[in-house]
Amino acid sequence: MSDKATLPRWIDIGLLPLINLIFAISISAAVVLIIGENPIEVAGILIYGALGYEEGIGYTLYYATNFLFTGLAVAVAFHAGLFNIGGEGQAYLGGLGAALVCLNFPNLHWAIIIPMAIIATAFFGALWAFIPAYLRAKRGSHEVITTIMFNLIAGSLMSYLLIYILSPEGTNQPLTDRFTPNSNIPKMHDMLSWFGIEFESSPLNMSFFLALLCAFGMWVLIWRTRFGYAVRTQGFSPSAATYAGISSAKVIIITMCISGALAGMLAVNESVAVAERLIIEFAGGFGFVGIAVALMGRNHPVGIVLASILFGILYQGGADLAFEIPTISKEMIVLIQGLIILFMGALEYMFKPVMLNVYHTLASGQSDTSVGEAS
């Protein structure tokens, strides 16, 4: 029989997360009961709101796009042993990149300005991650502290820019002019209509595919390139990396910049495609939820895609729920998300010892009976 401490893969990455999810949902249901609502009805509304009609699906995937970018950002850094909590600020700065391109080159053809805008969001996000990365690599300043600080600096900087510099004259709103129509990224319902398919209007747009592409790109980067090999070596064992002649400074700086670039691309979805302008605090917490998404997705692109969609469902379904049942407030949705994060992340291994017991008892029971049959 195999090792006592291990479980088959299907239990480890399939059944255990499912049990955790069920527990999170059960406790959420109990809370719903306490406030006097019917949990089954609530679940029904939530799921219908997220997946039951076209517009709902559109919104779910639109939110999932944001979570994909920020979740991938956290995961990439994690593989190098870095904890990038600065997704929020990096995304915010990404928006600045988008605005600079889209406002300054209004007459460029879409095939030029859209790639330029995407590159600008990535570049500005990377730039904002570069400083903490440099400080970590050369000075040893811990990236958790510096990236948190950089979120605050980004917030102040962007408020200043949006109020005093970027907002058009004569307005008192902290947002920019509308971006040039050339930089419009096609919405999903528009694209489907080109093929004669009717789909209700929603903010879901091509950025979703960009995010999926990034997920695939991340897989290639981490598991199929020389650099990814260096990243994982550094992440697992810095001393082995030194032994192998891998420059930790180089790995830290490049990985953090890639992480920042991914977070920055959140602005492609939020600013370039949907708002079509830069609005104050557009990154609105997506950066932080990215940490939970990466955690839940176990820092693997496939897991992150699934986790992003789950969070998309919670966001969209939750919004519908708050609308349908006023006693269930927005905070209630945050509570459910919190429970899911708690069970999937912090308590990830809570049920593992139980599972180990159950599995090995069952397995040995089986082998016992087979012995009995043989004799």
Binding site: D3, V220, R224, T225, R226, F227, Y229, A230, R232, T233, F236, S237, S239, A240, T242, Y243, A244, G245, I246, S247
Partner: protein, 520 residues
């Protein structure tokens, strides 16, 4: 009964295993009250484990502990202190940014309000200082005072808690010679006042100098108890090292050729400002195995890391195949590897392998930039896995599954993964540290033969090992390191374990003979 001796400590039949490793085996030990009792042995002989059992860090699998003749259960350090046992660890356990006084009363503050306890402690410290010559400034911050002073704080901590039996684990390892003298003066004074002292060390000179009795440990057992004045370093060295049968390696005479690796004036000063390597010169020729023996911690491991490009030297020059390499400004391990130097590191878990990787991923660690393994940035997993499978076949790595996580291989097979990778890179110079640490007998023989095969193929091999047997059976020339210096060099075929054992303790018998003859 006038010859009745009082024993402060009596251990009966103590055994302790960690997994499959038996760290202590049926230990019987008697420590007379009011004496200094030395415990010597090589690294890994089980000395520290035994003391940890006595101090309540580990629980023995079996056996009994008598303190002052009374059967005592010691489950944790609190109970050890209650029984009057104090311990000074090799690595101090002090709060660096507290004052000495605060450190002394830590855990024995005497109530919620510090002022009262501090007042009492101040008086008590003054008394201890007067009685034992343990002078310290109670208001100095610990990180500002010297290592010797910090050690005094540790001793004071134990005495403050009423320790009558003091265990010192390698107390002189971090001290300067002058501080060692001061420490010994204090220990003698403590003994005078009736304190019993157990001192763990591997330095035979210190044993001879200060102890009354000495017990020798080897491979988890106490193999000899001696009254210090009735023994000599030669005997202790032989006991420590053991006269076990050498693992014979089938090897012909070496045919050394040109110098491939040369080091001149190598020095290393660590972060605390302690000189760990004090000017070492050596060379390794093509077609020879140079063995570096020594009790671990005498600079040989550091030297290996410096040569491999992992640690920067403070001073010195290195020539690889006649080409100078700047080891002070620093080269990285990759650059050294590019000069056809392969390195089997001492610690395969820390350096040689990434345990979370699958075996095939570890088969390119350090060689991942080799053009044959990638197409630009994109790795070629097919090629890498094929190479990994070939290596597994050639070096008999079991199980033959390159997709298995490296942590799941046995110690011997993990070591083979590293050695296979390094030998497979076809280096001109092979650096190899503790090649058979934690490796089973079968694999040892195989690894030894591989090392000899490298030599016969005209490679220069630098072997660092704490196993004397290994050095004696493999190397053609042997250098012994002691306290950051080379304490002697021998043609291996013209020396023996006793001679090397003495060199490991810093005593060169050949030179002594020479001076004796000179005097006559």
């Amino acid at each position: 009964m006038t010859d009745q001796v009082d024993f402060a400590i009596e251990l009966k039949n103590i055994s302790k295993s960690f997994g499959a490793v038996q760290a202590n085996k049926n230990i019987h030990l008697k420590v007379e009250k009011g004496t200094i009792h030395g415990i010597v042995g090589e690294n890994g002989a089980g000395k520290s484990t035994l003391m940890s059992i006595l101090y309540g860090f580990y629980k023995a699998d079996q056996g009994e502990i008598f303190v002052n003749g009374k059967l005592t259960q010691i489950h944790n350090s609190k109970e050890a202190i209650a029984a009057g046992i104090g311990m000074v660890h090799q690595h101090f356990m002090l709060v660096e940014n507290f004052t000495i006084l605060e450190n002394v009363i830590l855990g024995a503050e005497g109530g919620q309000m510090l002022a009262k306890g501090e007042g009492h402690a101040r008086e008590e410290l003054a008394r201890l200082q007067k009685d034992y010559g343990l002078t310290v400034d109670p208001d100095a911050i610990v990180e500002d005072v010297s290592v010797g002073q910090q050690q005094r704080v540790e001793i004071l901590k134990a005495l403050y808690r009423g320790a009558e039996i003091l265990i010192l684990d390698e107390p002189t390892g971090v001290l300067t010679p002058k501080e060692v003298d001061q420490l010994f003066a204090i220990l003698l004074q403590l003994k005078e006042q009736g304190t019993t002292i157990i001192m763990i060390t591997h330095k035979l000179r210190e044993i001879m100098h200060i102890t009354d009795n000495v017990s020798v440990m080897r491979r988890g057992e106490i193999i000899a108890d001696r009254v210090t004045k009735n023994t000599n370093p030669q005997e202790l060295a032989e006991l420590m090292v053991g006269r076990s049968v050498l693992l014979k390696v089938d090897k012909g005479p070496a045919e050394p050729k040109e110098k491939l690796l040369e080091i001149k004036g190598l020095e290393y000063v660590d972060e605390q400002g302690v000189k760990r390597i004090k000017g070492v010169d050596l060379h390794v020729r093509a077609g020879e195995i140079l063995g570096i023996a020594g009790v671990s911690g005498n600079g040989q491991s550091l030297m290996l890391e410096i040569i491999a490009g992992i640690t920067k030297a403070s001073k010195g020059e290195m020539l690889i195949k006649g080409k100078p390499v700047d080891i002070v400004k620093g080269v990285d391990a990759g650059q050294i590897r590019d000069m056809d130097v392969a390195h089997v590191p001492e610690d395969r878990h820390e350096m040689g392998l990434v345990l979370q990787f699958e075996e095939w991923e570890n088969s390119i660690l350090g060689y991942h930039n080799d053009p044959k393994y990638s197409n630009g940035q994109i790795l070629k997993p097919g090629v890498i896995r094929q190479d990994a499978r070939d290596m597994m076949e050639k070096f008999d790595i079991r199980p033959r599954n390159e997709r298995l996580t490296s942590a799941k291989f046995s110690g011997g097979n993990q070591q083979k993964i590293v050695i296979a990778r390094e030998i497979n890179s076809d280096p001109d110079i092979l650096l190899i540290g503790q090649p058979t640490r934690g490796v089973d007998i079968g694999a040892i023989e195989y690894i030894h033969n591989q090392i000899v095969a490298m030599r016969d193929a005209g490679k220069a091999v630098l072997l660092v090992s704490v196993e004397l047997d290994e050095i004696l059976s493999l190397s053609d020339r042997t250098i012994v390191m002691f306290d950051g210096n080379i304490s002697g060099e021998r043609i291996t075929s013209e020396t023996n374990d006793g001679d090397l054992g003495l060199l490991m303790a810093g005593i060169d018998s050949q030179q002594q003979d020479a001076t004796n003859k000179g005097a006559q």
